[in-house]
Symmetry: C2
Subunit: 214 residues, 2 copies
């Protein structure tokens, strides 16, 4: 089961002075696949998703960013163009730090560079763990684990069935069915469209037990 690191990097006052502030509404793109990075984005508030299109035309949700996260650092550091769209999932306030090169970033903000490097290394682990899960775990378990991850990362955001599915490679209908089962199992509750996990520990215990089956 993948987890995420709550450790964040707080930009200095001086850094923030050099930043450009933007407000973006839900549904907008922060950047588009194929574009060349010219700096780093930082989320003051809101939720951003890194989204790619699959061969069959549906979307997949590769990574989630929220308050206190940097965005666009992978492409910037790899010196590649963006490999996916950065889509605004809820109204966001963003800082943009223009930067000309990786070497320049390392020189002026070595601590930030080190932080981002470690972040990418951890993200690679997560991505490879998900790769592993995708070929080894049944969809029900993937959905349950993704729900836990998404709800832990951003408890106040109302994740849709579609987004949960896009995160773990499942269709909306399949997510619905899995959620119905999770309600029957007594580990989640629905309130309108929102999904409530009354006890995270209870949910985790259920997952651990579920993993042993099959």
């Amino acid at each position: 089961m993948f987890e995420y690191d709550k450790h964040k990097f707080k930009p200095s006052e001086e850094m923030i002075k050099s930043a450009i502030s933007k407000k973006l509404l839900k549904g907008r793109l922060l950047y588009e696949k194929g574009m060349k990075p010219s700096g780093l984005y930082y989320i003051k508030s809101g939720v951003i998703g890194l989204i790619n299109y699959t061969a069959s035309g549906s979307e997949s949700l590769l990574r989630i960013f929220s308050e206190g996260d940097f965005v666009g650092h992978r492409s910037f550091i790899a010196e590649e163009n963006y490999h996916a769209n950065s889509s605004v999932l809820s109204d966001s306030e963003i800082l943009f730090f223009p930067c000309e090169s990786v070497e320049h970033l390392l020189k002026i903000y070595p601590a930030l560079f080190l932080f981002l490097t470690k972040q990418i290394a951890k993200d690679l682990r997560s991505s490879e763990d998900r790769l592993n899960d995708l070929s080894g775990k049944k969809v029900f378990l993937r959905i349950a684990e993704s729900l836990l991850y998404l709800k832990t990362k951003e408890p106040t955001y109302n994740w849709t069935r579609r987004e949960i599915g896009e995160f773990c490679g499942a269709k909306t209908e399949t997510v619905t069915r899995a959620l119905t089962q999770l309600v029957h199992e007594g580990v989640i509750r629905k309130e309108g469209r929102d999904i409530i996990i009354p006890s995270i520990n209870h949910f985790i215990a259920f997952l651990k037990n579920e993993e042993l089956k099959d």
Copy 2:
């Protein structure tokens, strides 16, 4: 379709002096999942695979390393324990560079650090591209693309059907069937157990065309 970067980092004579040399036979493990990194590995010759076990007990091949590649750098830089086994696929000669901390590495070998950082950032892209393919592409295309990748990265190594399958989330039988079809399509040839791609360009053209279907 994912590609790999041929750009390599050559350790200096001075670096090599501080290294420990090892010879490992096929089937051995360079390191095991869960162990704590204490330095970096470098491949002088041979092929190494990063392998994880899926929930259903089968294996998945996460990354491939060969001559001139570093191994174990992700965990070292993330300051995490290894998240998968490093398995020797063909007899290898390895250099081990002991190193106490990420900061120390950055201080004494800044160019290597920068190189590894970029490498990890590119690997994250590849991994996320594969994640995307796994939920969007049919198994036939995944197998064909994986074959191209593996054969391009290590043309002399005889990739087994099992390994190709473990790389793209397919079973051995499915790989066999896909290969049979690729022979019928006239883009590969079998010689004993080995797979020959007579013309890489022809193969790529076939793939491009195949991607447009469906």
